[in-house]
Each structure stands twice: as structure tokens, then as C-alpha cells.
Amino acid sequence: MEQITDISGLEALREEILANRNKDKTILRTCISTGCKAQKSLKVVEALKAAIKEHGLQEKVEIKKTGCHGFCEMGPIMVVEPENIFYRKVKPEDVGEILSTLNGSGGVVERLLWKDPVTKELATHERELPLYSKQNKNVISRSGKIDPADIEDYIASGGYSALSKVLHSMKPAEVINAVIASGLRGRGGGGFSTGLKWKICSNAPGDMKYIVANGDEGDPGAFMDRSLMEGDPHSIVEGMVIGAYAIGASRGFIYVREEYPIAIEHLSIAIKKSEEYGLLGNDIMGSGFDFSVQINRGAGAFVCGEETSLMISLEGKSGTPRSRPPYPAIEGLWGKPTIINNVETLGNIPLIISKGADEYAAVGTEGSKGTKVFSLVGKVQNTGLIEVEMGTTLREIIFGIGGGIRKGRSFKAVQTGGPSGGCIPITKIDMSVDYDSLREAGAIMGSGGMIVMDETSCMVDVARYFIDFLMYESCGKCVPCREGLKQMHHILENICEGTGEEKDIETLTGLARFMSTSSLCGLGSTAPNPVLSTIRHFRHEYESHIHDRKCRSGVCKNLFEYIIDQELCNGCGLCRVKCPEKVVSGEKKKPHSIDNEKCIKCGICFNSCKFNAIVVK
């Protein structure tokens, strides 16, 4: 492979790739990322390969293995180009039928089309699905379209043009100014001005500087970074090289959590390929700029997503954070100036350079520019990854794109910002989603997890869940976090088990104040947020648990029972059949009943009953 040594080399290669493409071929974009792979999409690919060979269709049909399309619950996903036909839940047995429609007859396999759960309408084309049509895809636009293991696919779609522009026509200071002017704020949760951070690092004295991509996406319920790393790894590499050039770094690290093996694989391939093509390593694109990258795997510690903890982990130690000052941008890895950026932040960089800061900043709100990728999960009709303009309202996201709440239930709250964030109730459903508004509402943007809850979610249990999580993940170094979380956990466990005490809410609030001002790092100081926000917006649930010993959402096992309403039950027997413990009894067509002594409250009967005859008491 001949290395690209100047700007015209890249453009020539791009033209060559595009010219060599057979425009008459049908391309089957098939997702092989985590969500679809879990649903056996690799077997679909195998079946496709075999069938294409069997029918001699190699010249007419091509399989493109892509990254995440974002609509994981519909996987395995396949999009037929150029018609843009969207198939969901594709099985190996469907392959024959799909191929038979490609003979020019213009047919589709209807049973594989997506049906809107509310309107019941079928959508033929990918662009018709509300999950996609209402998005404003920028950073994740390539994921699902290109083969992440094929650098030429990335180049053909415009990749590395931004890097080329930077290396050949921009000075480092100009790059930094562009990023500042764009208004880009850290997408990992901190929300600090990326350009400003770069400027501080660039000005800091040091014979050696580093740039680190934080791919340790630890927030439970968030998978934006997973998707980007799997589906468009080169965008992160390109963003890193541009950042390195801007601050004067010669070495970089991508820290990826080890629970993301596909992301690690795709990033490794991307690094190798870009080195081969002269887009990484020594004398990049003949510019004289040297920069090399290595991947470091996380080892199962959420705290290592915190900047100082991440750096200590990279230095080969256990991930206990340290206090600031000194700030990493001035004194970071091995004491040298270091920039740590979330991978989504870096994915924005090539866009800023290509479009220009002004065009980038034309999207979003005054204080929050550009777009943000969110993982919309939980009790919504359509779950998946969505990218929207900053300033979009919660209502537009949850009811517009998300299609509202499943199973005819009602919206209760949406949790944003993971364990550092908070729960937002229905009263704020029309609020703008941006850094500052979310903070005012008692939550934070965080990395982008948006977890929707309905009346079957217990808010005290949600607080307990996050405290449990943080207690497990705390490094244990400082007293406020280690001992504070232990006490909070104890109190919340008691409340959920029915032994809560009168003064518990006051104790929790007092502890919360102490932890937020005195903890060593962000994990401890933001740990109280879910507790504080649920007390603020759902105090009545805490009081119900403590005073009445009742969990009206049907979650805390000691505090409720499932009862079959004798008037609504028509004796269909579905619950009796599905009960894994066989504690439902009744004759056919006669009202059934549950033996509450033996019931383990797994909820299967409650969720299966089509007549809403099972209630929480």
C-alpha cells in the first residue's frame, strides 16, 4: 500500500476508490455490532454469503458489514441499497427471500419491514422510520453506512479531509481557535469547553505532551461511545490526530473498557490501517508531524472514566483519583501536559474543521452548540441511539422519536447523566435538552444516557440502584465517598425493605451535602445527585415506603403483593402457564388467584396479562 504523502494524494485515492465502485451493485448493509451480533447477525452474514455464491450473484450483490445502526432492539438490521429498504429482525432463513426480491422486480419482504407500534403503519425505507427521520445525524452518520474495518470506505465518504486541511493549511493556534469558536463542550459529561482545554494544554510548558481518548463509557444505560467506536473508529482517530497537532502531542492513548471487545477490535484495525496509509505515525501525510497511538484496555473499574483515575491507570497502577490542582492539561500523564477527551467529543472535531466553526455553531443553543448523541432506553416504544440538535425538548425526544411509553403506560420520569445525574419528572417534559437547563433541573447531561421510566419504576429503588452501583465502583480512598455511600446504601436498603425510619430523609440530605463538597473526585461529589433529585421530585414515594411500608410501583418485594382482580380476570390461564414458580391457580374461564406466600414477585404474570387484571397492592 502506497502511503499518502500529500493532500492531492488523499483526493486522488478517494477518486480512485469511487471510480472503482460498481454503482450497479446492490449493497446489503448488515450490522455486525454488539446489539445485532447478540441476535446472531453473523449467522445472517454467513447465510447470505452462501446464498450469494449458490445463486452466482457475486457480481450483482455485495455484503457490507457495518457498525451500529442505533436501533438495536430491531436487530439483526439490514438495509438494502440503493433502494434504502430497511429490514429488521432478519434471520438466516430469510436470506433466500431477500435475494429473490433483488432481481429487479422491485419487491420487498413485507414481514421484515418495521411497523410503527402506535400507527401500525409499515415503513419501507430507512429514512421513513421516526427514529431516524427525526434525528439530526452528524457524529454518528457514518455508523451503519460504512464498513468500520475498511479505511477506504471511510476515505470515500470524505474521511481524513479534515486532517488533510489541518496539516496542510492550518497552524495549531488556528485549529484551537476554530474549536473554541465552535462552542464544543466535552461530551463525556464534564461539559467544559474543549477548545479552551486545548489552549491551556498547548500553552503549558513541557517537552512531551499527550492526548487521550476516553472510551471508558461506564454509565450504565449508555452505549453511544460503544457505537461510535465500533461503527466509525476512524472518526475518533482523525479527531485525535487533529487534537494532537493542535496541542503539540506526539503520543496518544485510547482507553477502552474491556467489556467492549468489538470496539477494541475495530479501533485496532483502524490504527493499523491508518498507519499503513500514512495517516498516522511518522511524517503524517508528508507534513512532518509525528503522532502515534496505542490502545489500553480498561479492567472493570467505572472510576477509571474519571480523568485523574484514567491517567493513573495508564501509568500502570490501581485507579485511585487524585485531587486537582494540578490540572491534567498542565500536569497529567507522567507529569506532562495531557488532554483527555471523550471519544464523542473527538468525533466532532473533523466536522468542525470540515464545516467551519460558524456553520457548526449555527446548530444548537446559545450555551450548547452542535448535536449530542443520546441512548434512549427504558420504557419507550422505540429504544436506541439518537443524535439531535442541542435544544431539542424532552417531549420531542421521548414522545416524538421514542414514540411514547410502551404498553399503554404513562411517563413517570427520565433519568439523565447516569449515576452523576438526576431524574426529571413530567412537569419538565417541555424543557430544552442542553447542559445548563439539565443542571438547573437537578440532573446533568452526562455522557448521554436517557433512561425513561413509567409507573412500574420505583424511584426509591432507582436511587438505591445508583448508590449500590457507586458503592461497588468507589475506589475507597476518601472518607466522604467510601463511608458516605456505605451509610446511604444502608439507609436506602432499609427503606426498600420496609424498615425505614422517620429521620432517614434528613440523614440522606445531610450526607448528600457533605459528600458533594468534600469528596476527592467527581464520583463521590456527584454520587448524591440521584438521591437528591428523587427526594426533590418524588418525596411522596420515600414517605410511602417509610411510613406506610408500601411500594406502589410494585418493585420493592417486601412492600407489595400481586393480586388478581376477580372481576377483571376472565380465566384465560396465561399467567398460570407462564408462572415459573407455579403459584397461580384457577380453573379455565374462572378468575385465578396467586399464592402470595410462595410468590417470588418476578413480575412475569403482571407483564403478561392482556386484561390488566393483575394489580399491585
Binding site: 490501581s318 480512598k477 463511608e483 439507609i491
Partner: protein
């Protein structure tokens, strides 16, 4: 270059690189600490030394042991906010170590009679890390360390087995604020001592934990220094 800061209304002049805690001590102002020691790098885990600072018109709580003094900074060591922090730290430690006399004494001296938190365990170690840090930074043996994470974090030797790198100097015993480490004679080799975790000294300190003018302390230190010196001599000849 000299730095000028104001601590509790007193102007203090210190060298560049001095921490707020060191500057306070120079001014004769006492800030309580648990995990700080002059011979070691500041650690910042107990949070007892937190003070309020005003810098660039912003007021916030910081740990004084590792916060650099800067010209123009104003420090407040005895505000309500600071007292609240100390109260919470001690109450949480009392809940963790309800039977440790040293913690009870320290709490009493700060006017804290009891803890508002549930005593869900009874530990002797407060995880200040002094023993571990001293063994690694000052002695150079790194025989004991921290293991596990979060609420399970503890001081142990690797695999909780008898250490083959411990030199028996007794530094960890000496430096432990709650006296929960002791030296026990090695079972097989005479003249050798090993550290042993978690044996609480139930005998109250005969000097009521006033360590600065203590004879016992002086003897202890002499003993430790001689063992370390022997270790260093042996190390050099190998």
C-alpha cells in the same frame, strides 16, 4: 519566590510550593489531620484538613494538605462550613470504628460526643494509608499495600500471607494512628519481626495521644531507624 497569603486574618509569607497546611502551621494555626505526614507525599483521603479558601473571588472547600498556597489567597480554617466537614468525617469514622479509643478521643476533643450514623461494622483501620505509603516511600520495602476497592478496601500483605519483603522495622506500627498494627516475632527465624494487621491495642495510650512530647515515641523512632539503617546497608552490599 515568596508567596503571601492570609490565613484567618494573619498574613503569612512562604516559599513557592508550600501547601496551605504547611503555611498554616508556620503561622501557628492548628489544622487537624489524620492521613498527613511530613515525610510523605500528601494523600488527601481523610478530608479532615479541609479549609475554606477564597481565590479569584470564588469561595470553596479544599484539602489544605495538598493545595498550593498562592499569593492573593485567603484561607479560613474555622468557619461553620469547615466545622461541619470535620464533624461529618469524625462521625463517619466513629460509625466505622466505634471501639477505637483514638477516634473516640479525637472526636471528643472536637466536641463530638456521638455519631448520628449507624454502626454497621467495627473496624480498627481507618484506611489513612500512612503505613502503606511509609513502607513504600520512606522505607522502600513496599511490603504492605492496599487491596480491593471501595468499602472492601483494606491493608494487607500480598495474598494475606507472611511477607518476604518486610524488614521488620516497625515503621507501620509506629505511624498507624489507631495502633492497629503490631510487630510479632517470626515463627521460624529468631530476631526477625513481622507486621500483623488488625490487632487493636485496647490499652489506652498512657500519654492520651499527645504525640509531640512523648518519650515512648522517641524510643520507638530510634528503634525503627536502626532497623532501616541495617536494611539499607544489607541492600547496598548485595
Amino acid at each position: 519566590m515568596k508567596i503571601q497569603i492570609i490565613i484567618d486574618g494573619h498574613m503569612v509569607q512562604v516559599d513557592n510550593g508550600t501547601s496551605v497546611l504547611q503555611a498554616s502551621r508556620k503561622a501557628g494555626i492548628d489544622i487537624p489531620t489524620l492521613c498527613y505526614h511530613e515525610a510523605l507525599k500528601p494523600y488527601g483521603s481523610c478530608r479532615l484538613c479541609m479549609v475554606e479558601i477564597v481565590q479569584n473571588k470564588q469561595r470553596r472547600l479544599v484539602t489544605s494538605c495538598n493545595f498550593p498556597a498562592e499569593t492573593g489567597m485567603e484561607v479560613f480554617t474555622d468557619t461553620d462550613g469547615v466545622k461541619q466537614v470535620r464533624k461529618h468525617v469524625l462521625e463517619l469514622l466513629l460509625a466505622r470504628c466505634p471501639e477505637v479509643p483514638m477516634i473516640q478521643t479525637m472526636a471528643r476533643r472536637m466536641g463530638i460526643e456521638k455519631t448520628g450514623f449507624k454502626k454497621i461494622e467495627s473496624k480498627e483501620c481507618i484506611l489513612c494509608g500512612l503505613c502503606v505509603r511509609f513502607c513504600e516511600e520512606a522505607v522502600g520495602a513496599a511490603a504492605i499495600g492496599l487491596s480491593n476497592r471501595g468499602t472492601e478496601r483494606e491493608v494487607t500483605t500480598p495474598f494475606k500471607s507472611s511477607s518476604d519483603t518486610c524488614i521488620g522495622c516497625g515503621s507501620c506500627t509506629y505511624i498507624c494512628p489507631t495502633a492497629c498494627i503490631e510487630m510479632i516475632p517470626d515463627e521460624k527465624i529468631s530476631g526477625i519481626r513481622n507486621m500483623n494487621m488488625g490487632r487493636l491495642s485496647l490499652e489506652l495510650c498512657s500519654n492520651d495521644y499527645k504525640c509531640t512530647d512523648c518519650d515512648i515515641e522517641q524510643t520507638f523512632i530510634k528503634d525503627i531507624k536502626s532497623v532501616i539503617a541495617q536494611f539499607r546497608k544489607k541492600d547496598k552490599t548485595q
